[in-house]
Structures are given as C-alpha cells and as structure tokens.
C-alpha cells in the first residue's frame, strides 16, 4: 500500500485538501509542478486557467489535440475543454500514473479557478481518499 500525504490549507475561506504533483506531456510539451484541490465533487480532473497561463499553453496548441470539445460546468460558469489523453502525473519517485486531463479552451471560466484533481483520478488509481479537516490531515492510499 502506497500512502500519499496531502496538504490541508485554508484557501478562499475553507479548508481544502491539496495535491502537489508534476504534470508532464510530450505534445503539447508540458513539464511543470501543479497544485490541485482534491475535489470529490468533480468527476473530472481539470487544469485551471491561471495554471494554463503559467504553463504557457495556448488554446491554439490545445485545439490541435484530437477529440471533441467537452462541456463542463464549474463554479456557476460553463466551459468547453479539450482532453489531453494520458498526461503523466507524478507525486513522488514512488507513484506516477497516466490520466486524461481537461484543459479549458473556451467559455466563461474565472481566471482564478483552481486546478482540480477529480474522481477520475481516484477511479483510475483505485485510491482511497481520507480527509479529516479538524486534524488538518488528508492522504491517498493506493494498492501496490
């Protein structure tokens, strides 16, 4: 069993479990650390617009990815995303997976929308997720 500790920080007036990982892709080229809120209310993993800016990925680059635009509603807004298939997500030397990651390409997402690690991550890895806000403790547990 691999235990991946997460941070619990106060962010925008509430305690949130946060994962930090390296995101990597060959096309478009991406190699960057990401902070994402672990959001069991989100079925999909989504990179926020501000992270997209930081990664300097253009919507033109994303539109070259094959596949349809996917409608997603977040925070009262609606966006269309492109899915980057099999992006590599690495937490440590012990754990790395490939996951389809959504990048917003159009719509009215807020610029300060954080990146989200969704239920698709838990499903793909078979991870259990524990979050105890009062102890400020959170972690994933993943079978070897």
């Amino acid at each position: 069993m691999v235990k991946i500790p997460l941070e619990v920080y106060d962010f925008a007036n509430g305690l949130r479990p946060m994962a930090h990982f390296l995101l990597r892709s060959d096309k478009p080229h991406i190699f960057a650390p990401i902070k994402a809120i672990v959001d069991t209310g989100s079925p999909k993993t989504l990179i926020g617009l501000s992270d997209m800016k930081r990664l300097r990925i253009s919507k033109v680059q994303l539109n070259t990815i094959e596949g349809p635009l996917n409608p997603i509603r977040i925070g009262g807004g609606s966006v269309k995303t492109k899915i980057l298939p099999n992006a590599k997500i690495k937490f440590s030397d012990l754990f790395e997976i490939e996951l389809d990651v959504n990048f917003p390409v159009s719509g009215d997402e807020q610029i300060n929308q954080p990146s989200l690690l969704g239920v698709d991550f838990l499903e793909k890895t078979g991870a259990g997720f524990s979050f105890n806000p009062s102890k400020r403790e959170a972690y994933f547990e993943i079978e070897d």
Binding site: E7, Y9, G14, H20, F31, P33, I37, L55, K90, N112
Partner: protein
C-alpha cells in the same frame, strides 16, 4: 530524477508558505492580485496574471516552475 523531485519540493514549499502567510500578503497589499512566490518570498504581483508571467520571464525565471496564486479578499468563499 533528483532534479524533478527538487523542483516539486521547492514548488510545494512555496505553496505552503503562500497558504500559511496569506493574511500577511493581504496586509502587504496583494488582495485580488496574482502573486508569484519563490524561496518563500513574493517576487512578482499584478491583477493580471499575464503581467506576472511577463515579469518572471524578464527576471529570467521559468513561470512553469514558479508558484503563482490569487490572493482572495478575506472572507471570500469559493464554492467549487
């Protein structure tokens, strides 16, 4: 491999510093601005993230490797 983990650890450390010092950042006038943190210090800020990224590039930094976050006003609740 070691460099990758060092990059992640530095980013995580700056993320921790940001979240533990967000009240201090508010008092320093960073409310409703994007702030770039490196080595536990704010090194660039602006209401427009594009300006922050440009400033980092001008300093010779790779923005992809730098922790950048928005400073919400105190009491502002973000429901995801």
């Amino acid at each position: 491999m070691e460099q990758e983990m060092e990059l992640l650890e530095n980013y995580e450390r700056d993320s921790g510093w940001f979240h533990k010092n967000v009240d201090k950042l508010r008092k320093m006038g960073f409310v409703e601005k994007f702030v770039a943190i490196k080595s536990s210090k704010p090194i660039a800020s602006n209401k427009d993230i594009n300006v922050v990224i440009k400033e980092l590039e001008n300093r010779g930094e790779n923005p992809s490797f730098i922790f950048i976050e928005f400073v919400h006003p105190e009491g502002y609740t973000l429901v995801l």
